[in-house]
Structures are given as C-alpha cells and as structure tokens.
C-alpha cells in the first residue's frame, strides 16, 4: 500500500467510526431532539400532567371554537389520535383548520392541553391561489391538511 492509499483508508475509517458514533448519539437523544410530540406519542410515552412539552399535528377540521376575547379551543390530530387544546392569546396568521400547528404548554389533569404559545407549521407545498382553488374544486386536494397527512 502506498502512503496515499494508507491515508485514504485511515480517513475513511475515521469518518465511518465518527459517523456511527454520532448516529448512535442522535438515536439515543431522539426524544430531546424532536421539536414536538404527536398526539400518539403523548398517549404512548405516558407524559405526566404539568410537564412542559410541545405537541404538534394538524388542527382538526371543525374543531376550532372561539370563546371570550382571545380564548380559543381546538383539537390537534395526527389522524390516529386527537388531543384537545385550549389557548388564550393571538394565533399566527397561518393558523387554520387542516393546517399544521405546534403548541407549547402543559397537559392538564383532565386530558386537555393548556397551550402557552402556538406556532403555525408550514408544509412544503407552494402554489398560486388560483391553482389551490382549482385543485380544491376538483376534489384532488383538500387543502393543506391532505398534503401534510401524505407525509
């Protein structure tokens, strides 16, 4: 083996070992790296009430109820499980039914999530309004919710 080949093998080995090590670390830290839990994760992971977490999913169609002032109730769903949420405050512009959302707050004892902040999650679809409207009319595509579910 020439010196160049030896150096190449050494570099490849180091990168492979480092890659595996980083991969294992990231895999072990998965719970802290995720930005939010889905409603299914909440049911699975047995999250205690009062623990500060973020939940994310789609705002369920027909679930948004406005109360007094800026009080609002809605349900976050990942199509398998659904979690009711209450929030007092100003919602982001992109907040709407069928749209992705991330809420930070605490799970109440009654199973209702009390949000302290709500962020809108944008999906990866970009199109002009006319195209969105046409697609909706054709029934091919039911709005942001449909596209996000496909992921």
């Amino acid at each position: 083996m020439t010196r160049k080949q030896r150096r190449s093998v050494l570099i490849a080995t180091c990168v492979a070992v480092l890659g595996v090590a980083v991969g294992l670390v990231l895999f072990a830290l998965e719970d802290s790296i995720v930005f939010f839990y889905s409603p299914s994760d909440i049911a699975e992971k047995n999250i205690k009430p009062g623990q500060r977490i973020r939940i994310g999913g789609l705002v369920e169609e027909g679930s948004v109820k406005r109360g007094d002032g800026t009080q609002v109730q809605f349900a976050v769903t990942d199509t398998a499980k659904t979690l009711p949420v209450t929030y007092i405050g100003v919602l982001p512009d992109l907040f709407r039914e069928g749209q992705g959302v991330v809420a930070e707050g605490k799970l109440g004892g009654d199973g209702i999530f009390v949000a302290e902040s709500v962020l809108a999650k944008h999906d990866e679809n970009y199109m002009p309004p006319e195209v969105a409207e046409a697609l909706r009319k054709q029934g091919v595509w039911q709005g942001a919710g449909q596209a996000a579910k496909a992921n």
Binding site: K4, S8, I33, E124, P128, V131
Partner: protein
C-alpha cells in the same frame, strides 16, 4: 499520476490555475449577472404570490439558494480537505480556505432570511428545532475553521488542522439534510429533492431554479476570485521571505 498529470493534476499547479481561472472568470461573471437579472425579474414579475404565504413567499427565492450554497460550500471544503490530507497539495488547502468566508456568509444569509420568514409564517423568529440548530452549528463550524486558519501561522500546519476539523464537521451535512425527515421539526420537509415531483407549482418552481443556478454561479465567481487572491497572497509572502533571507545574507557578508 506523478509522471503524466491529468487535468486535475495540472489544475493543482498554481500558475496553470491562475491562467485558467483568469480566462474563465470574466465569462463566469457575465453569466452570473445575466442569470441574476433573469432570476430577479422572474421572482418579482413572474412568480405569483403563494396561496397561503402571500408575498412572503418571495423570501424563499433568497433563502433556499443561500441554504443550498451553505451546504455546497461546506461540501467543497470537505472534499478539498480530504484532498489536502491525502495528496498534501497546497492548492487543496487554498480551495478549502477560500470557500470558508463565502460559505459562512451564505449560511448567515439563510439563517437571517429564514428568521424573517419565520416571524410572519410560524409566529416566531427562532426555535431550537433540529434543522435550525444544525444549520446554526454549520455557521459556527465555518467560523471555527476560519479562526483555526488565523490561529496557526504556518500554512501547511494550519491547512492540516483545518482539514481534520472540516472532515469531522462534515457529519453535520447529512444531519442538516435529513433533520426534517428524521425528527419532528418546525421547519418543513424538502420541496425540491423528493422522490416524487417537486411540491412547488411550476410558476414558483422555475424562478426558484433560476435563482439556484444564479447563486451557484455567484458562488464559483467568488470562490475562484478568493482562490486567486490566496495564491497571490502566498506568493507575496514567499517573495518577502526570500527578500528577508537575501538581506540577512547580505548583512552577514558585510560583517
């Protein structure tokens, strides 16, 4: 390879590199200007507002190309660093070093434009999700590598230290790319590089692709210019050293 240098072998000759890059640069610069003008025209007069984002979608035409260059820049640094460690050739060091500040600038641009987009769309300038955090780490990697080059005076030693750090840091590249698929993030998944068709309507996609090509051309203009500057800087330094040596030798002879 040592006896009959191929194209890359000849390119590794600084004099040949200066000649070739000097001939290519004016054309590449002209191409960049044309692409940029066409791209900006398409962005402002052809691309429609998005059905949800409205005119805010225009930020994406700067954000996505900047983010792409942040990744491409670091890929170039990584490949050059591997070349530097294996072949120990100064031109590989020059290529890696010259790409650092350019990559850092585009990374910062991607972070700032993303932040400005995030406020009206998400409702926040910044969150610590996997995509945003890994890109911030990329920015710090660029800064760290630049600092390392400054900290070590002797170019070949600085080059080797920076190359090792750059290769170690390259594990961040797949993390950035796949962060949106591996973990729940606030950042949306990829629109362009998908197995099925891009999730962007052609009226928005075409201006974006032109901007991507224009930014890439701009990167190479800046990178080639920075590489030429670095080669010339090293020559000036070498000349100064020989002058000092000559002066010392002269003094020694007089004494």
């Amino acid at each position: 390879m040592a006896d009959t240098p191929g194209f890359f072998g000849r390119l590794a000759n600084p004099t040949f590199f200066l000649k070739l890059s000097g001939a290519v640069l004016p054309w590449l610069t002209g191409l960049t200007v044309i692409l940029m003008l066409v791209g900006l025209y398409l962005v402002f007069f052809f691309a429609p507002p998005d059905y949800q984002q409205g005119e805010t979608v225009k930020i994406m035409f700067i954000h996505a190309p900047s983010a792409w260059l942040a990744m491409m820049g670091y890929s170039i640094v990584t490949i050059a660093s591997i070349g530097s460690l294996i072949w120990r050739h100064p031109m590989a060091d020059v290529a890696a070093k010259a790409a650092l500040p350019i990559g850092a600038c585009f990374t910062l641009l991607a972070l700032i434009t993303g932040s400005l987009w995030g406020k009206p769309m998400w409702g926040t300038y910044w969150v610590w999700d996997a995509r945003l955090t890994s890109v911030l780490i990329l920015f710090f990697l660029y800064l760290g590598l630049m600092a390392l080059w400054q900290a070590i005076e002797e170019p070949s030693r600085a080059g080797r230290a920076a190359a090792i750090l750059a290769i170690v840091g390259s594990v961040n590249l797949p993390i950035i790319k796949f962060s949106v698929d591996w973990w729940h993030t606030l950042h949306q998944p990829a629109s362009l590089t998908r197995l099925d068709a891009p999730a962007i309507h052609p009226s928005i996609l075409i201006p974006l692709l032109v901007m991507m090509v224009a930014f890439t051309a701009l990167f190479f203009v800046l990178h080639l210019t920075a590489m030429r500057t670095e080669v010339l800087r090293r020559r000036v330094q070498a000349l100064r050293l020989t002058q000092v040596d000559a002066a010392r030798a002269g003094e020694g002879a007089r004494a």
